[in-house]
Symmetry: C2
Subunit: 234 residues, 2 copies
DNA sequence: TTCTACGCTTGACATAGATCAAACGTGAAT
DNA sequence: ATTCACGTTTGATCTATGTCAAGCGTAGAA
């Protein structure tokens, strides 16, 4: 029992959001945490559900998304280990503004709202951490809105590829960690359109496809021009 | 001198974000606040500028917007009296993710970052207020992203009109507080498209235009259907 | 190995909405 | 009252992207 607790406390303490929290506070958190595992494709919460707390991904990955009446999906985020999600209702009241689903087997911690708010009241650094999380998310949304409203799909795709490349220390060799269908949904489009654009980019010598989830950037500058709108696909 | 200070303190204390703060803390804030007036059309900050603090609208209105390379504008927010803006860089570091401009003569308070962060560390309720502000903004962005990605312009316009109506205790008589060009930019489109859609809605008996900034909802249910995608304009 | 399912690709087509250009109104300034 | 500028409207046209339908490939199940 004690061993299990210590293990939980360590897991809690390793969450970036809780960086700087005292051991005691981590213990308190570990006491109230709800630890569960979701399988691939399993729903975690739906838009409109009441939010009585928030979640943190311990392992696996979770997508946050919106659905149109006709069933088209727009992915807002994909969160991995250590990232919190579903915090909006904790502070703004009301309900979840989007859906959450595990895209692979995922272990998720749930923290009930009230105890968490108590903790924030006592811990300015926790408050600042949370403010930073929300601010970064706002920044990200700002970019997404800009993309959706002001840019075309080839630009968004190019920006995404460059982003991937940067995350992989600028390697020109990219491995997609999601399906192309999901990528389409992140970019705010549909698989058919994505496929066509990838084909055009290949034809123009910008990239080369090397297997279903593997591609190589051949002309980085060209892709950059595409990303910023300085170049167009013919 | 003292009178002027007291006047400032009262203004500061009346900002919703600072609700619940002690008089002393409001005094501290009043000591560090920078009070300025921007004229209609004047830039407050630009995307990419360094953010060393955040702002609050005291009077007037401010638009936060993004610009495409070709000059198309997407309005993210329009803020009025009492509303804070430009907080993202305070907590997430880095720079402003968008532009801010006064759309009418506006009085703006500026609060430097460091003193404000100090204050947050001492005031859990201020932290919670700020968390609520950011959370509400995230929720709003979620809706905007959904609209831009998953809905068509007539739906967004209808939703906007219903929202206006709700804000006006469900009156069917609406007065736009912004130009149609600005409204187009809020909806993520251009004046021409907005004009055409307004015309169609008029032709279908959903609304009637009564002067340039005044319109009436004739068929509320029809507009609601349009907003949720259950009906289409022919 | 063969079968099956699902993700991906491709083609033909439809359409919402952007662009370009021009005319129109209206309100503010002279 | 007249002028001017700017917001708005309108029409003609263009294009990016969505829709529908069919075919393809591959990975995993049987």
């Amino acid at each position: 029992m004690k061993a299990k607790n210590m293990y939980l406390v360590n897991l809690v303490a390793s969450i970036p959001l809780f960086k700087g929290l005292s051991l005691e506070h981590c213990r308190n958190l570990a006491d109230i945490v709800v630890d569960s595992v979701f399988s691939r494709g399993q729903n975690i919460f739906s838009e409109g559900d009441e939010g009585n707390g928030f979640y943190v991904v311990i392992s696996g990955r979770v997508k946050i998304y919106k659905l149109s009446p006709e069933g088209k999906e727009q992915i807002l985020h994909i969160f991995g280990s250590g990232e919190p999600f579903g915090e909006v209702p904790v502070f703004a009241g009301e309900r979840f503004p989007a859906h959450a689903e595990a895209i692979e087997e995922s272990r998720i911690f749930f923290f009930p709202r009230d105890s968490f708010v108590e903790l924030i009241k006592k811990n300015p650094s926790l408050a600042l951490n949370m403010l930073a999380v929300l601010s970064r998310r706002l920044r990200k949304f700002t970019v997404l809105i800009e993309d959706l409203s002001l840019k075309e799909v080839p630009s968004r795709l190019s920006a995404y590829l460059l982003h991937m490349s940067r995350a992989n220390n600028k390697s020109t060799d990219l491995v997609l960690d999601i399906s192309k269908g999901q990528l389409a949904s992140i970019l705010g489009t549909i698989p058919e359109t994505l496929s066509r654009i990838l084909k055009k980019m290949t034809k123009e010598g910008l990239i080369r496809s090397e297997g279903t989830r593997h591609l190589r950037i051949l002309d980085r500058e060209g892709v950059e021009d595409l990303a910023c709108g300085a170049r167009k696909l013919t």
